[in-house]
C-alpha cells in the first residue's frame, strides 16, 4: 500500500511531440486549468466596467436603452405587431438573450487575438480564453434579467398585462444553454481564424448586426411567411428568442419541429467549432 502512495507523488511526466491529425478534446487538461477559467472570467468582469462612471449599470442600460429606441421607432412609429404584448416588454425579452449571445460571440471571437501576449508566452489549454469570455456574459445577463422582473411588475401593477409564473419558465436555462452553445461554436471558428486572418475583426460587427436582423428581436416571428419558416429555423437564435417569449410572455412560439432544426444547427456549430479549434490550436503561438 505504502509503495503505491510513493509512486503517485512521482512528478508528472509530459512528452512533447508533434501531434498528428485530429486531436481529441483534452477535457482533463481543461479541468486541470479550471481555476484559470474562473480567474479569466473574473478578470473580464472586473475590467469591463473599471473607470466607467456608471459601472455595472451598463449591463442594464444597454438593453434598456435599446428597448426605449426600438419601442419608439418599431413599436410606436412602424407599428410592428408584437403578438399582443406591449412592445417594450416584447422587445426587452428578445434583447435579453440576444445581448447575451452577441456579447459572448464578439468577446469570445476576439479572445485569442486580444490575449495574444498570453498565447505566445505561456502554455495553457487555449479553450480557456473563448470559454471564459462566454461565461463572463452570464453575469451581465443576470443583472439585466432582474430589471425584466421590474418591468413585468410595473406592467402587471398598472393592469396592462397579467403575466404570471408558469412551468414554462423552467425551460429558460435550456434556451440559455442553446444561445451560449451557439455563440461558443461560432466563436471557436472565428477566434481560430482571427489568429491568422485579422479580417475577422472587421467582419464581426457586420456579422452580429446581420444576425440580429435574421433573429426575431425587434419583430415577431409571425412576420415570416410560413413557407420560409423552416429556413428561418436554421438560425438557432430564432429558436432561442421565440422560446424566451413563449416561456416568459406566453406567446404562441413554443417548442415545435422548428426547435429540432435549431438545436441540430447549434450542436453542429459547437462540435465543428471544437474540432477546428483543436486542430488549429497548435499553430496559434506561431502565427498570432
Amino acid at each position: 500500500m505504502e509503495k503505491e502512495a510513493i509512486l503517485k507523488v512521482e512528478p508528472n511526466t509530459v512528452v512533447i511531440r508533434p501531434t498528428k491529425g485530429w486531436m481529441a478534446i483534452n477535457l482533463r487538461d481543461l479541468w486541470h486549468y479550471r481555476e484559470l477559467i474562473y480567474f479569466m472570467t473574473w478578470r473580464d468582469l472586473k475590467v469591463r466596467y473599471k473607470q466607467t462612471l456608471l459601472g455595472v449599470s451598463w449591463a442594464v442600460l444597454n438593453p434598456f436603452l435599446n428597448m426605449v429606441v426600438f419601442s419608439i421607432f418599431f413599436g410606436g412609429l412602424a407599428k410592428m405587431p408584437s403578438d399582443g404584448i406591449p412592445y417594450p416588454i416584447f422587445s426587452y425579452v428578445g434583447l435579453l438573450p440576444w445581448g447575451l449571445f452577441a456579447n459572448a460571440l464578439l468577446n469570445a471571437s476576439r479572445s485569442l487575438y486580444s490575449n495574444q501576449n498570453m498565447v505566445s508566452k505561456v502554455y495553457f489549454p487555449r479553450l480557456v480564453l473563448p470559454l471564459s469570455s462566454v461565461l463572463g456574459g452570464i453575469v451581465d445577463f443576470g443583472i439585466a434579467f432582474l430589471v425584466l422582473i421590474g418591468i413585468v411588475l410595473y406592467y402587471n401593477l398598472t393592469g396592462i398585462t397579467h403575466l404570471m409564473l408558469t412551468w414554462q419558465m423552467l425551460t429558460l436555462p435550456l434556451y440559455l444553454l442553446m444561445a451560449l452553445g451557439t455563440a461558443l461554436g461560432v466563436a471557436l471558428w472565428l477566434s481560430a481564424l482571427y489568429v491568422q486572418y485579422h479580417d475577422v475583426g472587421y467582419i464581426l460587427p457586420f456579422l452580429s448586426g446581420f444576425w440580429q436582423i435574421l433573429s426575431p428581436v425587434v419583430y415577431s416571428t409571425t412576420l415570416i411567411p410560413a413557407k420560409w419558416q423552416v429556413l428561418y429555423a436554421l438560425n438557432p437564435m430564432a429558436g432561442v428568442v421565440n422560446g424566451f417569449r413563449w416561456a416568459i410572455l406566453g406567446t404562441p412560439t413554443g417548442p415545435g419541429p422548428d426547435l429540432i432544426i435549431s438545436t441540430a444547427v447549434a450542436i453542429t456549430l459547437l462540435i465543428s467549432g471544437l474540432i477546428y479549434f483543436r486542430r488549429m490550436e497548435k499553430t496559434f503561438a506561431d502565427t498570432i
Binding site: 512528478p11 512533447i16 508533434p18 505561456v122 497548435k282 502565427t287
Partner: protein, 424 residues
C-alpha cells in the same frame, strides 16, 4: 540517474510566409493592404508551400539534463534558443522528435504575462499565478512571501497601471519566482531592471539550483553564464554544435563564426529576409597598415569597416557599430552619420555597394577580449539589421603606459593621460 529533460531529434520548421513581420512602415502597410486581395488569390492558386518557404529554426537536437543541473544555453540571435525554450514551455509544438519533461516547467520568459493594468497588484498576483498554473491555495499560502519579495507592499491595492516600470517588473518577477517549478527556464529578462534587482534575480536562481531543481539559463551575458552554470550548450543555426563545461563553451562561442580571423562575412542565408533592402556583406578589423587582424595593439589606431549593399535607395539609414566586452558591458556605440555635416551629405543613399568605416584612436581600449556589433537602422522608423556580436578581437597592451608593472588594470579604457607632478 533519470534525466528530467530529454530531447530526441528535436526539430522545428517555420513557414517564412507566416513569420511575424516587424517594423512595418505606414507606406508598407498601405501597399500590403492594397495588394492583399492579389496575394490572397495567389495563395489560393499555389497552396503548397515549397521547401524554400520554410526554415528549420531547430533541427536534430539531442540532449539530456539531469536533476539539479544548471545548464547554460548560448548562441547568436536566430540560433534557435528561443525556439527551444518555446518548445520546452509547451507554447509551440516541435515539427520532429520529442521532448520528455519530468515535472513542472516554470519560465521567466513569462514574467508579467496576463497582467492587466486596470487590476491591482493583489488581483494580478492571483491572476498571473493561475496563468502560470498555480492553484489558488498555493498562491494564497505564498502571497505574503511574493509581496515581500516584490517590495511593493504599500501599493498592493493600487492598479498596476500606476506602478513604475521597476515596480511592475519586480511584482511580475516575484510571482514567477515563487512558482517553484521542478525545472526553471531563465531567459534574457534579467537584462531588465536595475542592478540591485538583477542581483536579487540571480540570487533567486541560485537558490532554486541549490534546492536540487534544474535550471536552464539563456543569456548573452557570458560572465553570468560562467558564474552561474557548470555546463553549457552552444546552438548555431538551429543545431547543437557543442556541449561542454561552460568556460570551454564560452570560448568556443566567442570565437565561432570568425573562421577568418578579424573578419565576419555574411552569406545570403544568414541574413533575415526582413533586412531588405539592406544586405550586410562583411565586417572587418584592420590594423594601422591595413591588414585584417583579430588582435590589435592598444597603442596603435585601428579601423572597423562595414561592407554592405543597398538594393534600393534609402533615406535616414545609419550604420552603427558597438564595441562591448565579452562580459556584455558596452564600451561605445557610434553611427556613421553622427557628425552633422556628414549627416546632411549622406542621409540619402542610392542603391549600391558601400563601405562605412571608422578609426578607433590609439591609447583607447584596455587589454582584453572585445566584441564588435553592427546595426543598420533608420531612427524611429525601422531596424534593418542587427548583430550585436558579429566579431571578436583581442587588444594587446604591449607598450601601453604603465606596462612596467605586470598587474591587471581594472577599467575598459587605457588612455595615455597627461600627468603633472610639481612641488607645492
Amino acid at each position: 540517474m533519470i534525466p528530467v529533460i530529454r530531447a530526441e531529434n528535436l526539430g522545428k520548421r517555420y513557414h517564412i510566409g507566416l513569420a511575424p513581420q516587424k517594423y512595418q512602415t505606414l507606406s508598407e502597410n498601405i501597399t500590403n493592404a492594397l495588394s492583399a486581395p492579389l496575394r490572397a488569390i495567389r495563395r489560393v492558386q499555389t497552396p503548397k508551400m515549397d521547401a524554400s518557404d520554410t526554415i528549420w529554426a531547430l533541427s536534430g537536437v539531442n540532449f539530456e539534463v539531469n536533476q539539479g543541473q544548471v545548464l547554460g544555453i548560448i548562441g547568436r540571435n536566430g540560433a534557435g534558443k528561443s525556439t527551444l525554450l518555446k518548445i520546452l514551455s509547451r507554447i509551440t509544438e516541435p515539427t520532429t522528435g520529442s521532448l520528455t519533461i519530468r515535472g513542472r516547467v516554470g519560465s521567466l520568459l513569462e514574467v508579467g504575462t496576463g497582467f492587466h493594468p486596470e487590476l491591482t497588484g493583489r488581483e494580478n498576483i492571483f491572476l498571473n499565478g493561475a496563468i502560470l498554473s498555480m492553484k489558488r491555495a498555493e498562491i494564497e499560502s505564498k502571497f505574503d512571501e511574493i509581496v515581500a519579495f516584490s517590495e511593493v507592499e504599500q501599493f498592493i491595492d493600487t492598479p498596476v497601471k500606476r506602478y513604475s516600470s521597476g515596480m511592475y517588473l519586480r511584482l511580475a518577477f516575484a510571482v514567477a519566482a515563487h512558482l517553484e517549478p521542478e525545472i526553471l527556464v531563465v531567459d534574457e529578462v534579467l537584462a531588465v531592471g536595475d542592478a540591485e534587482f538583477q542581483k536579487k534575480c540571480l540570487g533567486k536562481m541560485g537558490d532554486v539550483a541549490q534546492q536540487g531543481r534544474t535550471v536552464l539559463f539563456v543569456s548573452h551575458n557570458m560572465s553570468a553564464i560562467l558564474r552561474l552554470t557548470q555546463e553549457s550548450l552552444v546552438l548555431e543555426k538551429g543545431q547543437l554544435v557543442l556541449r561542454a563545461p561552460s568556460s570551454e563553451a564560452v570560448d568556443f562561442y566567442l570565437s565561432a563564426g570568425n573562421t577568418d580571423a578579424g573578419e565576419r562575412v555574411w552569406d545570403a542565408d544568414e541574413v533575415p529576409a526582413d533586412a531588405t533592402p539592406f544586405r550586410p556583406m562583411a565586417l572587418r578589423l584592420r590594423d594601422r597598415t591595413g591588414n585584417v587582424v583579430d588582435t590589435i595593439r592598444s597603442i596603435e589606431p585601428f579601423t572597423i569597416e562595414v561592407e554592405y549593399r543597398l538594393s534600393a535607395p534609402l533615406t535616414g539609414l545609419r550604420i552603427g557599430i558597438y564595441i562591448s566586452t565579452s562580459r556584455g558591458e558596452y564600451v561605445l556605440t557610434s553611427f556613421d552619420i553622427d557628425d552633422e555635416l556628414f549627416y546632411e551629405k549622406h542621409v540619402s543613399r542610392d542603391a549600391g555597394h558601400y563601405l562605412s568605416r571608422c578609426t578607433i584612436p590609439a591609447d583607447f581600449l584596455n587589454g582584453g577580449r572585445y566584441l564588435v556589433g553592427v546595426n543598420a537602422s533608420s531612427y524611429h522608423v525601422r531596424r534593418y539589421f542587427m548583430d550585436e556580436q558579429a566579431l571578436s578581437f583581442n587588444v594587446n597592451t604591449a607598450g601601453a603606459p604603465g606596462m612596467q608593472w605586470s598587474e591587471a588594470r581594472p577599467g575598459l579604457v587605457r588612455p595615455r593621460l597627461e600627468w603633472k607632478i610639481e612641488p607645492k
